[in-house]
């Protein structure tokens, strides 16, 4: 199954809608709760990053019997130093983002922790594509 969502820049009213919708779908499909939780936590953090740090983008989710592949792609500013961004506590979040309860610099490390495979393609001035895979078996 394939699902596509749009993410809007800076829209913290609706941010998380895609992750919420994916959570519902996974529940309906009977995926076990532990796998649902790590999938949606990773997707949610990536979705929030696209809202908070980039100019919005798209989410593509593919689900089959053995895995869930999620691709969050944005046309944002890119990440200049990915090693630094992957460190716990590193954040360039704005005051507005912090007011929303984010910007602790724990998002990317937590995505890494919750997924079986993580690939981040990023280019300054072009954008960032985060590809996350969760194996169900």
């Amino acid at each position: 199954m394939h699902y596509t969502f749009n993410i809007e820049r800076g829209n913290f009213t609706d941010a998380g809608q895609a992750s919420s919708s994916v959570k519902r779908t996974l529940k309906q499909l009977g995926v076990d709760p532990a796998n649902i939780k790590r999938t949606v936590v990773a997707l949610f953090e990536a979705e929030i990053n696209a809202v908070a740090h980039a100019y919005g983008g798209t989410i593509d989710v593919d689900i089959d019997g053995e895995k869930i592949v999620m691709v969050v792609a944005d046309q944002g500013p890119g990440i200049p130093n990915l090693d630094l961004a992957m460190q716990e506590g590193w954040s360039t979040a704005s005051a507005k983002v912090r007011e929303m309860g984010y910007g602790a610099g724990m998002g990317l490390p937590n995505i890494k922790k919750n997924t079986d495979d993580l690939k981040i393609d990023t280019e300054v001035g072009v954008g960032t594509t985060v590809t996350m895979t969760v194996y169900l078996i």
């Binding site: 992750s19 949610f44 984010y102 937590n110």
Partner: protein
Amino acid sequence: MKVKEIARLVDGEIVGAPVDETYEVKKAFASDLMSDVLRFHMDDTVLITGLCNNQTMRTSEMADLRVVLIGRDKQPDEDMLELAEDADITIIKSKYSIFKLSGILYAAGLEPLY
């Protein structure tokens, strides 16, 4: 500890999704940082927070939280209440500070998450 007992202890008002009378809360975690909430297992846990916006509900939904205690007399808006109902999350709102809420619930026997 039952949800209604928590509400009674903190002089709270229950809004959002209806209370599940059978649900037993065993632990509590206090944070205004949503990314921290997403780092832990929140089974049988009440989130105590002063952050009162849509993202509080979205984060709680992703974290599988079923009860959120909002302190400092913050008022959830319609949008937030709708999200709470959709995600089946009961909100207890209280006038007390986060420190006071935490103290009351700790003394009453709720365990810290860690």
